[in-house]
Symmetry: C2
Amino acid sequence: MAALTAALPGGRWSTEPSVLAAHATDRSGLPAQGAPAVVVFAEEVDDVRLVLRLAHAHRTPVVVRGAGTGLAGAATATGGEIVLSTARLNRILELSAPDQLAVVQPGVITAELDSAAAEHGLRYAPDPASVAISTIGGNIATNAGGLRCAKYGVTRDSVLGLDVVLADGSLLRTGRRTVKGVAGYDLTGLFVGSEGTLGVVVAATLRLRPVPRSTATLSAHFATVADAAAASSALTAAGLQPAVAELLDGANLEAIDAAQGTALRERGAAWLLVQTDGTGAEAEAALAEDVLTPFARSVRRASDVAEAERLLEVRRLALPSLERRGRVLIEDIAVPRSLLAEAVDEIAAIGRRHDVRVATMAHAGDGNLHPIFGYDGPEVPDAVTRAADEVFRLALRLGGTLTGEHGVGLLKRQWLGDELGEESLALHRRLRTLFDPGGVLNPGKLWSD
Amino acid sequence: MAALTAALPGGRWSTEPSVLAAHATDRSGLPAQGAPAVVVFAEEVDDVRLVLRLAHAHRTPVVVRGAGTGLAGAATATGGEIVLSTARLNRILELSAPDQLAVVQPGVITAELDSAAAEHGLRYAPDPASVAISTIGGNIATNAGGLRCAKYGVTRDSVLGLDVVLADGSLLRTGRRTVKGVAGYDLTGLFVGSEGTLGVVVAATLRLRPVPRSTATLSAHFATVADAAAASSALTAAGLQPAVAELLDGANLEAIDAAQGTALRERGAAWLLVQTDGTGAEAEAALAEDVLTPFARSVRRASDVAEAERLLEVRRLALPSLERRGRVLIEDIAVPRSLLAEAVDEIAAIGRRHDVRVATMAHAGDGNLHPIFGYDGPEVPDAVTRAADEVFRLALRLGGTLTGEHGVGLLKRQWLGDELGEESLALHRRLRTLFDPGGVLNPGKLWSD
């Protein structure tokens, strides 16, 4: 601490209890397990290097955080560590329209990059629900997904290269500025999604893509989730790849109705929002309408951009509406697309069995489901924990994963070995030790030490 | 050798000189540096495990190969090693249309997977030029690219998960069957493109995609390469993402004319072949035609599929036509897209400076250039080596890479450190040692030991 505070310029660190508390948790709902010793607000790459050099020398744990919007507890404090905030490293260093790329610092808010790109007719494709408040660094640390992933890929697919400060404070450059390149191992991919355990990203070269020329939006209501899932599978079978295919079950619709005064649930027990884009948007929407109609109670094409935006807003209101009823635990499994209906039905059955509220929303295009468990009181009840455990086991039984886009952090670390297997988990441990022999980078996350 | 031949069923290995010679080189043009001791034709996963266990125990080098169509010498023998062929591990284990995926053994020919997928209206998107003769295992080992990469991604983007036999003979499963998943590190990405140095792929779960509903094809001739490159940049600036955008320079056109009796060169010193696809194919081709016209001497839209196929065939004839003139050394740099014209012009200047024949073809949509050096006689002349060296330095100077899609192997290992830097190369070495402490997997490839 003495070495750290002596070496850092004033104003770049704090031990104020209110500041420590504000930087001790993320949005997973997990309480901090202890207060950090200090929060460092890096303003230069050298601040990051200094922190890691000292942490490495003194074997002090470091928890890196962006905006703290993570949903798995990867940025949650465990007590006595240095919290290293990259929020002030928030400059867009370069934006090249001809090369359709940007070089940014990790603290740039994702939506701000997207806005800057929009001035050139471009966009940053990954769109996690937190896009307005999360940082690129956090997106990279969790390999964040979003609504448009099925068509445009996840964060990994938009990261061309990284500047990373390693555990000993040294600086590594990975990847490249070109779209393609196969010189050496894919270190970029190794850092993306590593949840702060392999290094600290201090700059990222990101791919930008053209804003689609047009979009078309469909809203379809179904009698059952099974019908909606079958309709979604039929879209896939018809060779259609919508940019967005969002499924809400009846419990979501009831919550939205109660909170927003809408009357969605009476139209059916499942809702599917489909958006096509590109030069073929209209043609694809017409095809999609034909495909959905036999399965649906109603299918409506948004008549204009304003109506489409209102429909997307309804989707975005699902979580806030559920949160009005009490606290929530947000899960994030993914299953092979053909098993979407089975997964949603099983999740509902698990909720009934444990007598807990559960609503499921899904990125139907890629089989990623968010079961949202509701509960009252400050602590997660045992029944919810048991239900969540069953959901993870369901995901693995269906050949899926316990996390499609949120990450493992603290929240899912006890199940990681079940998914990966012992051989893979042992290799993960060896890899982590290779990058961080002193064990200072986010210890206790991904698995317990 | 005794242990190996005793344990393997008869017919699964050979020490015949003709067999050894046939499995000692790839298509890079590099001569074998020595004869392998034995070629093993694995027919079961256990054969692979056995070979690696014995090799690990006896510290015998193992060179894995699929069809031997590599262009960088990664499968070239250096003398005395076990060549492990995966060509007989050639079954498609599963093909799921609802989940749009296939599980295949490494020896499956890429085009055969594509054909099998086509029966379900699907395709395997990556299309290296070798698609008809190369294997999926080889494609994965090199992270192979192709013509459609700019829109559909490289091999990495179609690999969901892998079964890998590690250096000690143990079996590792990576990735998943779901489109999305972030549980643990991206080991799948680490193996893809590792050129046989980290493990042996024995099964791959691959993403399939719908065959586009339609395609539209444009053929444009330009006075200069600079005009063609400017036109290609204009397509990008217009927000268009063709599935194919292939550029041939005047030297290519002359070679095709000489070999095929065409009259392409007289229409201009550069040719651009553009193909759009999907429901918006026609609309995008119309937009592309408008964008190209101001830069071009002529732009023609193919009137039907047969004409489009003939145009693609012309592109495919470029390399065989150059090969009619003598031996070729195929390079594979990539540069930021905005520097395409500068790269092509510089490559031509390098050829003039060293008085060597060079023709450049480019995947213009992603800035990947293949300078093809021509020479006579059995050995690569010093002038060609010097010219190639200058091309690599050009790529790095322009912020590019020395290999966009072919890999490093033996051919480019002396330049890898220049691209990666010492810090990264040292990390690469440590990673390789972690996966293969005995150094049996393809030693001497990527860098010299």
